[in-house]
């Protein structure tokens, strides 16, 4: 009797397990074939001299294992200079992430008040996020031209016209600003988070005589830390992969070869692989890219325990 029941339970569990694997076939295929196997392959390719010649139908050269040559190349070859790419990518990502978080939090706090037309404004701020990134870049390119409207406004105030996208000092803040403009998804998430901050906390603090500035820093921000963490992470992952501005407009410039002010890691990889046809080297860049992204994710996760405050978390 007892063992019979156990057997039946076992059969049910097995049936459930079989169903689960069937439902997961797409995910299993995706995770293995288009995510983790290619990840390993990318590292492998980085140690070979794979280039476009290997794909020629007529007597392709034998594929050679070259050890760390590609890795040394990308750091020492002045026309690749991956250090510059790492630097500009991190610079852009930090500007864009910090800008996006501050801007979206500011707007979310304002929209969280009793203002008329809240849904309308939320939609207004969200729309730039859903526009095609290439079109967004092209639009801003025209706005920022020498004789474009933004320079006209600047000149009306008596300032000199700025070559926003052709100057190595202004190009990055400008691109980061455009990225901030498209961060409407963060606003929506922050707004929802703000509505979940318990009112009683604010009321209690108010009775204790805290002004609204103090309440924002001592109550709103701590309650929002889990959401800030989520937004930071998502924003970081997206902005480290920045490529469209370079692809659509700046082509890695301004700045000489290997010194391009917008030669982002992903753009450098695109050029090495798909313009120069050097897949081995590009694989090495991909590996470096992976390490940079992993380091940032690690820093964020490692420090998160210290500054994230979970509600209902009693131990203090």
């Amino acid at each position: 009797m007892e063992s019979n029941k156990k057997l039946r339970l076992h059969a049910v569990a097995r049936r459930e397990q079989r169903a689960a694997y069937l439902f997961l076939i797409p995910a299993l295929l995706g995770l293995s074939l288009i995510t983790y196997l290619p990840l390993l392959a990318a590292f492998g390719i980085g140690f070979t001299d794979l280039r476009v010649a290997h794909f020629m139908p007529n007597n392709p050269p034998p594929l050679q294992f070259v050890g760390f040559k590609n890795f040394i190349d990308i750091f020492t070859n002045p026309s690749i200079n991956i250090l510059n790419s790492i630097k500009v990518t991190i610079y852009f990502a930090l500007l864009a992430v910090v800008g996006s978080i501050v801007y979206s939090m500011f707007i979310a706090v304002l929209l969280n008040r009793k203002v008329p037309g809240r849904a309308f404004f939320r939609a207004i701020f969200y729309v730039p996020h859903i526009l095609p990134a290439a079109s967004v870049m092209i639009s801003w390119y025209f706005l920022l031209l020498d004789n474009g409207v933004i320079n006209y406004i600047i000149s009306q105030f008596g300032f000199e016209r700025v070559k926003f996208l052709d100057n190595i000092y202004t190009v990055m803040p400008t691109l980061a600003l455009i990225s901030v403009w498209t961060c409407g998804n963060l606003i929506v998430i922050f707004l929802a988070g703000l509505q979940n901050v318990p009112r009683v906390y604010h009321e209690a603090a108010e009775i204790d005589g805290a002004n609204s500035w103090q309440r924002f820093w001592r109550i709103t921000i701590p309650c929002m830390t889990p959401i800030i963490f989520y937004n930071l992470l998502m924003s970081l992952v997206i902005n480290l992969q920045v490529v469209v501005p370079a692809l659509a407009i700046t082509k890695g410039g301004p700045g000489g070869p290997g010194q391009g002010a917008t030669r982002f890691m992903s753009y450098s990889m695109y050029q090495i692989a798909f313009i120069n046809g050097e897949f081995g080297r590009a694989g090495a860049v991909a590996f470096v890219f992976f390490v940079v992204a992993a380091v940032f994710a690690f820093i964020l996760f490692a420090t998160s325990k210290r500054w994230i405050f979970y509600q209902g978390d009693e131990k203090k």
Binding site: A20, Y21, V115, F121, I124, A192
Partner: protein, 294 residues
């Protein structure tokens, strides 16, 4: 404060002051929002305004805020320069299968993670979440090599097939999170009534998580619609160009046809905006969902 609470009249006065202060703050907040919103909309308005103007008027100084004549005919672009309908058709050839099958498979996988027990669940889910943090750039080159070995470069398959695998980890994650909020008793009732896993999913859970499903569909729409890099890499033939690649091509070759350029850009905005307006209500709800349950 304490004196205020003890006596009636001063307390009323205090609350009145407080309310007046809050109302004033709301007015200020509204004005600031109005300014910021104007700033956010301005680039879009400027594109539309420029698209409706004659080529010679666009860069006049001072720049007119409204077009002198509203030249809607600018939107009728020569197919030679920007073949809107061809690009739209091509892009939809990629986007529609991605959205349909990506959404379906995301629901399947999300269901397995949310409801079913199986060996290796924790591990698989960790792999799934981990792949969200992995830059897609890293896997681009091996994938390109495989696709070119298969002879599928310059076809739409490399852009479509990856989306048939659950539509990306993020979407699987989103479906799972949403399903976890649906009480488990609902599917238990169904299974007592003799419904299998598939029946339970389709007839009980899918109707309950419809907002999440719409969000997943919209997110896949937006990512596939916007994927300039992969479309640039895989598509070469002029008659296979998509909206994004067609636009960058136009940008490169017809730099002086400004009003045409602006009109083409505005047209490329349109499908996304329409899709967003249709699903707006669900969109907000679903995005909120991803951020809340972490």
């Amino acid at each position: 404060m304490q004196e205020n609470t003890r006596k009636g009249a001063p307390r009323v006065q205090y609350i009145k002051n407080k309310r007046r202060g809050a109302a004033a703050a709301n007015v200020i907040a509204f004005i600031v929002i109005l300014f910021l919103a104007a700033g956010a909309v301005f680039p879009l308005w400027w594109m539309l305004r420029s698209a409706l103007m004659a080529n010679t008027d666009i860069f006049l100084a001072p720049p007119p805020f409204f077009p002198k004549d509203w030249l809607w005919t600018n939107f009728i672009l020569e197919p030679r320069t920007f073949d809107f309908w061809l690009y739209l058709g091509n892009t939809l050839t990629i986007v529609v299968p991605c959205v349909v099958f990506g959404t379906i498979t995301a629901v399947f996988c999300g269901y397995a993670f949310a409801r079913l027990r199986f060996r290796g669940k924790q591990f698989l889910f960790a792999l799934c979440v981990g792949s969200m943090l992995l830059p897609t750039m890293v896997t681009l080159i091996p994938l390109y090599i495989v696709w070119s070995r298969l002879g599928l470069v310059d076809t739409y398959w490399p852009l479509i097939l990856p989306y048939l695998c659950g539509g990306g980890a993020f979407n699987i994650f989103l479906v799972r999170q949403f399903m976890l909020t649906i009480p488990k008793e609902l599917d238990e009732v169904a299974s007592i009534d003799g419904a299998g896993y598939f029946r339970t999913l389709v007839s009980i859970l899918v109707p309950n998580i419809l907002p999440a499903i719409i969000v997943v569909a919209l997110l896949i729409f937006i990512t596939t619609w916007n994927d300039l890099l992969q479309q640039t890499i895989y598509i070469n033939s002029p008659h296979k160009l998509t909206m994004a690649t067609g636009l960058t091509q136009f940008m490169g070759s017809y730099k002086n046809d400004y009003s045409g350029m602006f009109a083409a850009t505005c047209l490329s905005f349109l499908p996304g905006v329409i899709v967003y307006l249709i699903g707006q209500r669900y969109f907000v709800e679903g995005i909120v969902m991803t951020g809340m349950k972490n």
